[in-house]
């Protein structure tokens, strides 16, 4: 049978996941010396690791070409649709926040507010919950710039330490939600390969606490 295939979000999440896999006893030398390869065996061919961009991890898992995936909750909230979210891995922690220029009265007045963000779906859902009409503008790069140059009244973005916001005279006025890395599974895979997936999930659960 083909080994389980796990899609990892390239970069920081990938590194921490590999450390976790090593901690539970899998040999990840091939991944550490990956060169330019994108599909790598782990342990004694126990499973395969695929390296992909965050949103693509979801796509691969959803279509069932990867059985499992490790991806941030931010990406799940923005792009997610149908898969199982099995485990909060507890690393990659940060938060979504609504931020504005210091001392501006965001909720005051009756005019429709403009929000700049890299996460239009998260932003839409957040303001829908408040029954608030907002104009959302998608920005690709540094979102902090938008309120400073007058494009937007506020931003919805990921905040880790808050130092970028501070340096640009912005402040968090509301926390949207907490974010961390999650283990996700394809719906059919969990049913067809229950035992293998549960075993790995339990081992990971034990080391993530």
């Amino acid at each position: 049978m083909q080994p389980l295939r796990i899609a990892l979000t390239k970069g920081r999440l990938e590194k921490t996941t590999i450390e976790l896999l090593e901690k539970i006893g899998y040999n990840c030398d091939e991944v550490r010396n990956k060169g330019r390869r994108l599909i790598l065996p782990v342990g004694d061919n126990d499973f395969e690791v695929v390296l992909a961009k965050a949103a693509d991890v979801i796509t691969y898992v959803e279509h069932g070409v990867c059985d499992l995936g490790v991806v941030g909750k931010d990406t799940i909230l923005e792009h997610g649709s149908s898969f199982y979210e099995l485990l909060d891995l507890g690393f990659g922690k940060c938060r979504f926040a609504l931020a504005t220029k210091k001392d501006s009265d965001f909720y005051g007045g009756y005019n429709t507010k403009t929000i700049a963000t890299k996460y239009p779906n998260v932003t839409r859902a957040f303001f829908d919950d408040k029954n608030m009409d907002v104009r959302i503008i998608k920005i690709e790069g540094s979102v902090e710039l938008a309120p400073l140059v007058g494009l937007a009244d506020g931003i919805v973005d990921i905040v880790e330490t808050g130092s970028t916001l501070k340096a640009n005279g912005l402040e968090v006025i509301e926390w949207v939600t907490d974010i961390s890395a999650r283990l996700i599974a394809n719906t059919a895979s969990l049913k067809l390969r229950k035992r293998e997936i549960e075993e790995l999930q339990k081992k990971l659960e034990a080391v993530t606490g």
């Binding site: 199982y84 979210e85 485990l87 999650r182 059919a188 895979s189 067809l192």
Partner: protein, 389 residues
Amino acid sequence: MKKYLRITPEGTKDFLFAECAAMDDVCGRIENVFKTRGFKRVITPGIEFYDVFSLPCSGIAQEDMFKMTDNKGRLMVVRPDSTLPIARMVSSRLKNNVMPVRLYYKQAVYRNNPTLTGRRNEFMQMGVELIGVQGLRADLEVITTAIQAVKSVANDFRIELGHAEVFDALSDELSISEEYKEKIRQSIEGKNYSALNNLLDKLQPCRAVSAIRSLPSLFGGEEVFEQAREICSGTKAAQALDYLHQIYTSLLALGLGDKLIIDLGLVQRNDYYTGIVFTGYINGIGDAVLSGGRYDELLSEFDMPLGAAGFAIDTDAVTLKALSDGGSYSDKPDVLVFAEDGCEMQAIALVEQLCGEGKKAQFSVLSTLEETQAFAAQRGIAEVRICSR
């Protein structure tokens, strides 16, 4: 310049030759199962009034339907599902029919999925509905038909069973809003343990809360019942659980072994299903290929309170799998029959004779032998026969 002259709309495709052969094969096997089990085919219109699908229990989001208006300005949709139109049909055309009725359908449904996800917006579905009856026998009939249908097209499959009332009974014990209940349901459906825990932590701890907390992890074989019984004892869910166990025990006679799974976290379309629910998976297909269950309240929406159960199979997914498994759906003839001038009818008779003998023979419509031979070589047809005076 006509910009969209040569492409099909997103989420649709043409089916050619081997693809059609594979589809015919897959649908044929399933149809054979349905027919031998006594189900009779119905066809419903491709377009329906929006009202049929806007029922609160329909479980189909407004934005997922293709809509248009008729010449009176009434809102119409391109059929996004077959069960609701069948419920409409039964409540009108079959109102005075002897119940129960066994129906099956084989028709495409249409969904307006988000772009660039690779999902199909048009897909063929086959399914059955057993309407006008409730109880163990009816449920067994529908589930075993589903298993037989999946078996007819795949060897490596799983069928999972659940019961809509397990979750309904447990969540009814909590005094929470419908919205909150829906959030809990979604997190169970997605086996999203962390979201579920967050939601439940906000509630007063009680028996039902801890039972709901464990629902998504309650899937597997017989052992699930022992765990679940402990958790659900003294709640209304226990009754549903006993019934599910009864169904499961009956199905053991089929000797499916671990191909049969119990999943108490099976809570999809929970407003719609009222009893037993089930889904089917085939190895190599990343999504459920079959889903169904008992929906005893739907027909009341059409003023005809009748018990009903059924399921649908995504035959396009099964067809794709059959093709990628390299099934032989060759459309190539074995023999090409060329007629010299004046011998055409003789050649056509020969083709008929060869086909009667079980060979794939074809009458050459090209005018010279050279062209016929060249065509045969290009298509890799092994034999060219010549009819002459």
